[in-house]
Subunit: 455 residues, 2 copies
């Protein structure tokens, strides 16, 4: 392991240059305009895996973007680690708020700015470079290692589940390693043991067939934007709780021990608000901010549009109003069940002057993993060595639905060892990743593989 | 007059071709991209006025789009008519819903399809062609005639009021003639005696400084789109009345006689709904649909946007939510007063987690004119001759703020003799104007000038 660690230090700058190359590819999976670029990103990471000496690397086709699979070793005396990551990225909109172009990585004060720097190109590359460090020095790995790197994480991973189902044997392992989450704070190591799920829908309310003149028709025809506002307003009560019937029924309540854990975390609410650029918090009554953002379900409008949105004043009574709405879910809320409850709620409340179109865009299961497993202990050992302090076990508010999928289909727990920061602006303009964290991640990956092989 | 009427019949096709030329100019006053085109429309109508023999025609500069002024005659023995119209048009969005390009006029089954066909290029041209019919036959007009044709009606007529104020003498007249309203129904003549006013604002709610990841922050940061939905939902109560404090205070209640007049109108609600393409009406409790759309104030969202509105799912918690909101006003609601009440309402209800930006986009006064004046009688005579039946006196739901401005600044009443139909899709895709109504309007204008000169 020492040789591998040394190699990583010696090649630190090379690794950063490689990350920049990877970041230059606009692999926006949700927008078909970028299909060729998305494939180019798959080829890039596959080529890199080949170049470091992994014997089996394949770009495997799906009905959507391809999945990169790689493997090395089948020693029955060693545990098998399956590293999961994704090479696709979020759309960069709104473009005008970026200080530099999203796909032209800029390095400033030890930070790389680019779409995907943290989510997830930077983090998946840490494991590839850790592997390289072993292979280029000792020529072998302390574990049997597999990679599954998909290209649809930001568009719902629609083809990943069938792929896992069809490739159970290929993907057989002892644990999944995922770096797509955050440190609790810069320099404060943490390992994520809980994730929220997601139910994401789009609703369209249609009133009149066409946009009407608001003077000629206003006062006689109900306005779908006003009506959708009412429907959305009614989705929360005065305690900021979601009003959808049965929404909270499946929620596994937080134990006293868990709530104690939340209180023990070194959470600086003022600093967090400053990072978020928001003047005040707002959380479901009865819960702390940390609980609200990671262990309680939510409902947010992610986008809304209707009528005239250009410059100046246009006096239309719009024909349609649209909203993208998503719920963050916690165990044991099931995405299909919540989507169905959302559908029933909207269908029940659609005004008689309008028609409703309800689309299920995608969903993902929430997850909680055991903090006492051998792999979690190995991860804690690795993190402690890198940071010189014991890591916290935390829950995160985001969704990595594949964690639940790996559990359900392959029976595998995931180790969520992330190096992002909440302030990295993932999914926002000026996404970035600290180069120090990129290197910490490589070191942690090297140390994890070693520690896990000894458990 | 007979010669003028004959001339109009003989030149019917020429007039239509000229209208098409006028319609080809995309004079979208609200969008600065079209500034040169908007000026081109001013020049087009000025050139046409010159070509028919009007001695004084000027394209007069303002701080915005120019105003076309023309005049002929100063015989103290004749009354003076000031014809008002506008050469600018609404934006054509959404473009994809047009069956033919908005600025390439298409004639189909006796109807011209193009942006501005009805509102207002077709209707203002009727008066120019009626004038031409007199000048090319008798060489003179039965009245002193002035034209004021502006280019900012669709963007709030911001420079028209100062222009009228600075040119009181130039614009001195006995009555204003405006054709920018609708017939009660095809073949059913009507003269409009009431118009609604307008107060149009834009509000922006800002929560976090940037779009945030809805997983990382959702549940701890209030969502401005959800919050704006709540604020908008609360603008109406369960009787579909506007909840803004003092909103109804200045409203002049409908007299029993007026309500009787509304009941007497041959209004086919089913046909009206079909024209609107809507499944059902929705009106303030206690009022009929006709009253709701013309004699009662309203509040409608004209456009709303926030967050991610592209293809697919993006899990953002938006930084901002925006809405364009306008109220149709009735006498004696004053636009500035209502805008101020809207501002106070929004400022009072903005959540403490957000900041509000409130913009007054524009306003216009409601108007009611005397149905028994000489000019109104002349208009009724003209309409009866053209249609073979007595016209109704009606109120319209749209706004022509200049009617109140002419009254306030010049002391002039306006005759609102419109030839549109509610189904002409003004402000919507596939705006159109019946060629028969274009010719009826020319005939009515010829007859009005004659009848008014005899009053």
């Amino acid at each position: 392991m020492t040789a591998a660690l040394d190699y990583a230090v010696q090649n630190a700058d090379v690794f950063v240059d490689q990350l920049k190359d990877f970041l230059r590819i606009p692999s926006i999976s949700t927008d078909s305009v970028y299909d060729a670029d998305t494939r180019r990103a798959a080829d890039w990471i596959a080529d890199d895996l080949r170049s470091i000496g992994i014997p089996t690397v394949e770009v495997m086709e799906t009905d959507g973007h391809p999945i990169v699979y790689a493997e090395m070793g089948d020693d029955p005396g060693k545990p098998t680690v399956l590293v999961y990551g994704h090479y696709d990225v979020q759309p960069p909109d709104p473009l005008e708020l970026w200080d530099s172009p999203p796909f032209e990585p800029v390095e400033k004060d030890g930070i790389i700015y680019a779409r995907g720097a943290c989510d997830d190109k930077g983090q998946v590359l840490m494991h590839v470079k850790a592997t390289e460090a072993y292979l280029k020095t000792t020529g072998e790995l302390p574990v049997n290692l597999k990679f599954i790197i998909e290209g649809e994480e930001e568009s719902g991973s629609v083809h990943l589940v069938p792929f896992i189902e069809q490739n159970r044997e290929l993907l057989a392992a002892d644990v999944v390693m995922i770096s797509d989450t955050s440190l609790f704070a810069d320099g404060v190591p943490s390992i994520t043991y809980g994730l929220r799920g997601l139910a994401y829908v789009e609703v369209t309310l249609t009133g009149p067939e066409r946009d009407l003149h608001s003077g000629v028709y206003g006062g006689g025809i109900e306005n779908p934007v006003n009506a959708l506002c009412k429907m959305i307003a009614d989705l929360h009560d005065e305690n900021h709780r979601v009003t959808i019937e049965g929404f909270y029924d499946p929620v596994r309540e937080l134990s006293d021990e868990e709530r104690e854990g939340f209180r023990a975390l070194p959470f600086d609410e003022e600093a967090w608000l400053e990072e978020a650029g928001a003047p005040a918090t707002k959380t479901e009554a009865g819960f702390s901010t940390l609980e609200g953002i990671s262990a309680r379900p939510t409902l947010d409008v992610n986008g809304m549009w209707g009528g005239y949105t250009g410059e100046g004043a246009k006096t239309v009574l719009p024909s349609q109003a649209n909203a993208k709405i998503s719920c963050r879910l916690v165990p044991d809320q099931m995405p299909d069940d919540i989507t169905e409850k959302l559908r029933r709620h909207f269908e029940k409340h659609v005004p008689e002057t309008m028609t409703l179109d309800f689309k299920d865009l995608h969903g993902g299961h929430a997850a909680i993993v055991d903090t006492k497993s051998p792999a979690m202990k190995a991860a804690a050992t690795a993190m402690e060595a890198v940071f010189g302090r014991t890591p916290y076990f935390t829950r995160e508010g985001g969704s990595i639905p594949v964690v639940a999928d790996f559990k359900r289909i392959l029976g595998l727990d995931s180790v969520l060892m992330g190096f992002g920061l909440d302030s990295d602006a993932i999914h926002s303009p000026n996404e970035h990743f600290g180069i120090d964290r990129f290197h910490q991640g490589i070191e942690a990956s090297i140390r994890f593989l070693d520690a896990y092989s000894r458990q």
